[in-house]
């Protein structure tokens, strides 16, 4: 009787997977397969995938995107590392409020973040006002790479801070006390105990930050079509050039890079994933 119960359950489990299986095959796997084929069906044929790495225009944008993503990741990790650990470790009135403020932009889509960048650094922005008061010149950088960089940092900080705070909470304070008992001063403790302890979380958060920055689109779309990041290139190939094949090929290249980055993140740490934007 026990065996029949097991068998019954097995049928049920398979049946319960049917919706997700059907949905994914119909709307994800098959379309992606078709996209892959389309990528090789344009005027360059399968050479389109090679062109993604050899054509100077595409290389420039790929390199620009890579450099942007890496620098955003580094800056975000440093800032989030310090602020996240500080918040997690110190009690003061208003801490809950600060934490809430820091994680609020989590759900802002890229377009809204782009608008925030305009608020800060656009023609009537806050920063130009400040620089005008200080130096007489208005520093407007919203519509350049600098503005994009600021926007990416804007939506990356909330995600990474949460991961850092969660990891900081799990650290054993006794290990730091042990280091102190052996004579280590503040900076030594940070270097020898804190950073190694946070390394898995930082790696994981960093990989997610990198992948998100690579695939981010809305912010660039809002700030200008002049900015030469890969997602924008894909968009313009598709909508303005009607070069579906190239757009498809580039999408696959971009998708492969981000997927590998996230795989590395998942294998090096636990199961937390933040939303992409």
């Amino acid at each position: 009787m026990f065996n029949t119960l097991l068998r019954d359950d097995r049928l049920w489990l398979v049946a319960l997977l049917a919706p997700v299986a059907i949905f994914f095959i119909a709307f994800f796997l098959l379309p992606l397969g078709r996209l892959f084929l389309i990528g090789g069906s344009g005027e360059l044929g399968w050479g389109a995938y090679v062109a993604a790495f050899t054509d100077p225009y595409y290389i420039r944008s790929l390199v620009a995107t890579l450099m942007l993503s890496v620098s955003v990741t580094v800056v975000t990790l440093v800032i989030s590392g310090f602020v996240g650990v500080f918040l997690q470790r110190n009690q003061f009135s208003g801490r809950a409020l600060l934490t809430a403020m820091l994680t609020l932009p989590l759900a802002f889509p890229g377009v809204v973040v782009g608008f925030m960048v305009i608020m800060l650094a656009g023609r009537q922005g806050l920063i130009p006002d400040v620089t005008e008061a200080l130096t007489g010149e208005r520093l407007v950088f919203a519509y350049s790479m600098a503005g994009l960089f600021m926007g990416y940092v804007y939506f990356s900080i909330p995600r990474t801070i949460l991961t850092v705070m969660a990891a900081a909470e799990k650290l054993d304070p006794r290990v730091e006390e042990a280091a102190r008992s052996l004579g280590a001063g503040q900076w030594r403790v940070v270097r020898d105990v804190l950073v190694p302890g946070l390394k898995p979380a930082l790696l994981s958060a960093g990989a997610i930050c990198f992948a998100t920055a690579m695939g981010a689109f809305g912010t660039a779309f809002t700030l200008a079509t002049r900015i030469n990041v890969l997602p924008m290139v894909i968009y313009t190939e598709f909508t303005l050039q009607a070069n579906i094949a190239m757009a498809a090929a580039l999408s696959f290249v971009l998708g492969a890079i981000t997927w590998v980055a996230l795989l590395l993140a998942r294998t090096s740490a636990g199961r937390t994933v933040a939303a992409a934007g």
Binding site: L87, P231, A248
Partner: protein, 267 residues
């Protein structure tokens, strides 16, 4: 012993600066949406005219986004909860591959997913032009969050023992599923639902390609407004977005907060 040395004040200043960096533009845009003339500033007076204009011209995008978000929630519940249950019950190579697959629409850029859908179904005129085309993209993107949320809760309880207990008392599969499994993952369903709705409301990358002039969503409308309309209208439109999304975020944070923030105090 926590001596408030130089490092403390520096870090506090950094934290405040970063918080300001994140919040000040939000405040600025809210204010801009309520000011008569953004170029002049607050001196020009406060008004609701821009909000009224946004509402009369663009409220269809708000309703469409809400409709899609709720439909998305419905679909992810229907598809995602059973999937999470199966993943909680069985851990083998197949289920691990399934989890990887589920996450892929999040891992690869939304543009790619949207392009794939277009090349596959772009020819089916009615489908392509309806809001359900956008819905498909949203479900693909938000499904892993629902699954993960429910799976986390199911993994933390001793599901096997519960079900064996129920079995020993004669419960059938459906009785077990609806009477024991579902009630026990309520918190996961709730957290997942908040996440799904919030993500769907803000989704842009896919929606930009998947929409048509007949089916614009709120973020798509925002992008148009930023590009072509007055700053005040764009700000008011953003304010509408904030009004919808910030309460959701607050509820999400409030529900998760006790688990996240430690006391940082030695015993």
């Amino acid at each position: 012993m926590r001596k408030r040395g130089l490092a403390y004040w520096f870090l506090l200043a950094l934290t405040l600066l970063v918080s300001a960096f994140l919040i000040v533009p939000v405040g600025m845009s809210i204010l801009a949406g309520l000011t008569v003339n953004y170029f002049i500033g607050v001196e020009s007076g406060l008004t609701l005219q821009w909000l009224a204009q946004v509402w009369s011209d663009h409220r269809h995008t708000v309703f469409l986004s809400l409709k899609i978000a709720l439909a998305c929630l419905f679909c992810t519940l229907l598809i995602g909860v059973p999937t999470a249950y199966v993943l909680a019950r069985r851990q083998n190579a197949f289920t691990r591959a399934l989890e990887e697959l589920l996450v892929m629409p999040v891992a690869i850029p939304g543009l790619a997913t949207a392009l794939a859908l277009i090349v596959m179904y772009g020819g089916m005129g009615d489908f392509r032009r309806s809001w359900s085309f956008i819905l498909v993209g949203h479900v693909l993107f938000t499904l892993p969050f629902m699954v993960r949320s429910v799976l986390a809760v199911l993994s933390s309880i001793d599901l096997k023992t519960f079900e064996e207990g129920a079995r020993s008392l004669g419960a059938s599969f459906t009785q077990r599923f609806f009477g024991i499994v579902l009630p026990n993952c309520r918190s996961g369903i709730l957290a997942g639902s908040l996440m799904v709705v919030t993500l769907s409301l803000g989704e842009f990358n896919m929606t930009l390609l998947l929409h048509t002039p007949l089916t614009p969503t709120l973020p798509v409308g925002l992008a148009d407004a930023y590009a072509s309309l007055r700053m005040e209208v764009g700000s008011a439109y953003t304010l509408v977005f904030f009004i919808i999304i910030i309460p959701l975020l607050v509820v999400m944070q409030w529900a998760a907060a006790p688990a996240r923030i430690g006391t940082g105090q030695s015993r």
